[in-house]
């Protein structure tokens, strides 16, 4: 009955109970650090265990599977299971949840409530990655969305009410599309099971696939910032408090890519073949347009948000190329972008907390004032533009090599266009860094600012270590991911 994966949901639940009972800020922090550490330890254990099981010759598609019947009449079960992709995603989530706690260490006011919603958000994310049942996945997906409204609305900055409402409504619109897609899959497959693995064995009628694939892909694509439905992302990220931006850009946007791959493309391969060219055009536009938009922004968070649009576009782009290498690259890119963007948002939050502005025109010479943060920002920037040795290089390399493997001329042209984004990324990263980190300190107020505190250093250093680790030993993860990608791609190529 008991499945080790249930801990991913139970620990956040216990954390929420603990938060509810805690009386002062010390207890709140204690609960959060304990819970987040446990989750991190659990994810690392799961990674080792998974690799160990695979080495010992375990060939099942999903491991740690279990299923408890929930809504019998509609065949809804609490089905759990992980493959290489979900193990990697769980680890990513845990790292970001853990560092997010430190990034919001000094957050005021209503710290307790903040962490309650924050934990609920992470609960939704974990639940989504461990489920293999369509209904349960969708439920956790929505659980992860709604806390965003209050997190941005209450603790955000700038035009927070507008951004929070825009983000929530656009993502809920997406989830409406997902819901009808899920119903389409369920009834298309003969209404006998909600379990993804079982539905994958059934051939859904091609007409149903052609109708419901675009709805599902678009629904998840909205969360993955697919052009032209990416507009929630810059506003939402710019207004959100630091840790929420980290979690949202780092993990929640990955739910989109994961859902597109695991649900839409896996269950409706013929639908995917029918529609892939349309979506390829949209994702290519996302990749290039996001990068160009980042060039003209002056707000640090907007720069990074548009950069996210571009990089998340690359995830969907690589998935639609439907080769083994490109899909592995897509998942690597999810990991890499998740870590890098969390690092960026953490740093931006810390800089904003000191300078009270995010406009790069009003800042200069921060390298002299806060060398630690500034150096970390440069490292993050270099990782983002794909410097070898960091995760970005590995991921983008795999994505573009994999995409070019597809012999179709149209896809090769798309690949060439998308590759241009690398250059544009270099432009906006180097320009931004040069503008606000180097040069003379023009504003004398800035000379009084202090460098990073211990909690901020903890968050940043862990993230940099992860980015570096993924860049230096990528094969651990690419082997891991390849096992998860294989069944889906063989379904698609069939």
């Amino acid at each position: 009955m008991f499945n080790i994966l249930m801990l991913f949901v139970l620990i956040p639940l216990l954390m929420m109970a603990g938060l509810w009972a805690s009386r002062n800020i010390r207890q709140v922090r204690g609960v959060m650090v304990t819970g987040a550490s446990l989750l991190l330890a659990l994810s690392i254990w799961l990674l080792c265990d998974y690799i160990g099981l695979r080495r010992s010759g375990e060939t099942a598609q999903m491991l740690h599977t279990s299923s408890i019947s929930w809504y019998e009449p509609l065949h809804i079960c609490l089905s759990l299971g992980v493959d290489g992709i979900s193990v990697a995603m769980l680890l990513l989530s845990s790292v970001i949840v853990f560092t997010g706690v430190f990034a919001s260490w000094r957050l005021q006011p209503m710290t307790k409530e903040y962490f309650l919603w924050y934990t609920l958000l992470s609960l939704g994310v974990y639940g989504f990655f461990i489920s293999t049942d369509l209904f349960t996945m969708f439920m956790f997906y929505e659980v992860a969305l709604i806390p965003m409204y209050l997190l941005i609305g209450v603790w955000g900055s700038g035009r927070k009410e507008y951004s929070a409402m825009k983000l929530t409504l656009m993502l809920m619109g997406g989830s409406a599309l997902i819901l009808i897609g899920i119903l389409g899959v369920y009834y298309g497959a003969g209404a006998v099971s909600m379990n993804i693995l079982e539905i994958a064995q059934v051939d859904i009628p091609v007409q149903m696939q052609n109708t419901f694939f675009p709805l599902l892909f678009l629904g998840f694509g909205i969360l993955g910032a697919l052009f032209p439905f990416h507009t929630w992302s810059p506003d939402g990220h710019a207004s959100a408090p630091t840790a929420v931006s980290m979690l949202h850009a780092g993990v929640l946007m990955k739910l989109g890519g994961y859902g597109c791959f695991r649900i839409a493309m896996y269950l409706m391969p013929e639908g995917a073949q029918m529609w892939d060219e349309v979506f390829l055009v949209l994702t290519t536009v996302s990749v290039v347009y996001g990068a160009f938009s980042a060039v003209v922004q002056t707000d640090l968070k907007y720069i990074n948000a548009y950069s996210s649009v571009s990089h998340c576009g690359l995830v969907l782009f690589a998935l639609l190329m439907m080769t083994r290498t490109s899909c592995t690259g897509a998942v690597l890119q999810m990991l890499s972008h998740g870590l890098m963007t969390a690092l960026f948002f953490a740093l931006i939050g810390m800089i904003y907390g000191r300078t009270h502005t995010r406009d790069i025109r009003q800042m200069s010479g921060l390298m002299k004032v806060m060398p630690c943060l500034a150096v970390c920002y440069v490292i993050a920037g270099l990782a983002n533009l794909g410097l070898p040795g960091f995760s970005g290089f590995v991921a983008e390399m795999t994505v573009f090599t994999g995409s070019f493997e597809n012999p179709d001329l149209f896809r090769r042209i798309c690949t060439v266009i998308a590759t241009c984004s690398i250059v544009i990324t270099a432009v906006y990263i180097l320009r931004t860094v040069g503008r606000f980190l180097y040069g003379e300190v023009k504003n004398p107020e800035f000379l009084k600012l202090k460098d990073a505190t211990w909690d901020e250093r903890t968050a940043v250093f862990i993230l940099i270590a992860c980015v570096f680790g993924l860049g230096v030993v990528p094969f651990i993860f690419s082997d891991l991911i390849a096992t998860g990608v294989e069944p889906v791609v063989s379904q698609l190529i069939k």
């Binding site: 929930w70 809504y71 019998e72 009449p73 509609l74 809804i76 209904f135 439920m139 956790f140 929505e142 659980v143 709604i146 409204y149 209050l150 609305g153 209450v154 927070k160 009410e161 409402m165 929530t168 409504l169 809920m172 619109g173 409406a176 599309l177 819901l179 009808i180 119903l183 389409g184 369920y186 009834y187 209404a191 109708t211």
Partner: protein, 468 residues
Amino acid sequence: MTQFFQMRQEIGLTAVFLLMFVADLFLSEKHRNLLHPTACILLALQTVLTARPEDVTLFAGMYHSTELASALKTILSFGTLLVFLQSTQWLNRPDARHKTGEFYTLALSTLIGMYFMVSAGHFLLFFLGLELATVPMACLVAFDKYKGNSAEAGAKFILYALFSSGIFLYGVSLIYGAVGSLYFEDMQLHLHGCELQILALVFVFTGLAFKLSLVPFHLWTADTYQGAPTAVSGMLSAISKGAAAFALMTILFKVFGRMAAQWELMLEIVIVITITVGNLFAMRQKNMKRFMAFSSISQAGYIMLAMLGDYGQGSASLVYYIAVYVFANLAVFGVINSIEQQTHGKVLRDDYKGLYATNPKLTMVMTLALFSLAGIPPFAGFFSKFMVFASAFSQGHYVVVFLALINTVISLYYYLLVVKAMFIDTSEEPVAPFRSSPYMRISLVLCLCGVLFLGLASGVYTLFTTLA
């Protein structure tokens, strides 16, 4: 005589009604306060003791209570109990105090009417139930007749109700002309969709659509909800609506079952219009009671979605939706009522600004209930919405489900406006911190339990599917 005793729920409720009537007559002025606990305890006893679902057919089919209908009656009783718990503070006001007994007897008699509506097998019994559910309700709406717009609301309600009853009766007379019988059982053989019968269908449907406040028959709703005492608005929105929806479904499937081809398209159009118009108007409301009126119009549309499914899955989803809706909606009305009583009449959304800072618990109840109404997991509303969508989808009504789903986004917008007012906005003069009456607190806790557990505990829905 033995036949009468098989109607356990109706007999039990009538006994409660009579006891309350007698208690009201004989209790002296000093002991008036005892009426509240008496009413609540008696109704609770009736709800619990008669909660066993069973299939009963009496008087040659005139009375036919299916297992699902008796489950629904239990839900309606429980909802009325929640309303009773929420009305004590209002009834203790000096101008309403002397009418306490009247409130309970009137509310109980509407409930008896709904019982008969739900379990009628004959149009005459159905009509009797309908009228018994409506006329005392009009008195309840006009209960605060010297205050605010209560009298106006009552007048509007009774005029519309009588008008719609007239239309309904006209439809019934056409059916009688076509079939020569008023028993539901006889209808299915004879009604097959000729012009006269289609006309009858339209009139019967219209008559009930008024009660359910479906668009375009919804015009009375907002004014009535706004003018009526808040507890009564709650009852009108959750309990009357539940009974009417179930009755409509029974009639559509049992009487007009063979004319499904005729009513399906009509139903589709009415559903989409109802949900959309309800949502669009709700967005613009500043008064919380009017706001909830339009919200309940759009919710009625969602309830109707269940009727597009097949009878088994559809009726189970419908009853489940009603159960969840009763809890969530009464939680919202409970909070509105409690703030209204405390602040002597503040019911505007702007009055709720900064409520979280002063009354966090009340705010949480309201927020969770609104999330449930919007269909956000893990609250019960998510599950009940999913069930009605699945029910309509299973019969291939893709477009209607799609439009209804898009509408959930609109509804989320206006529910979030209230959440925003309470959590994010600040106010110069927020509602001062207060404790609601113990009765109100019990009812809100019960509602909250329903909102939290009716969905996560799958047993409820599974039970309804086995009963259907």
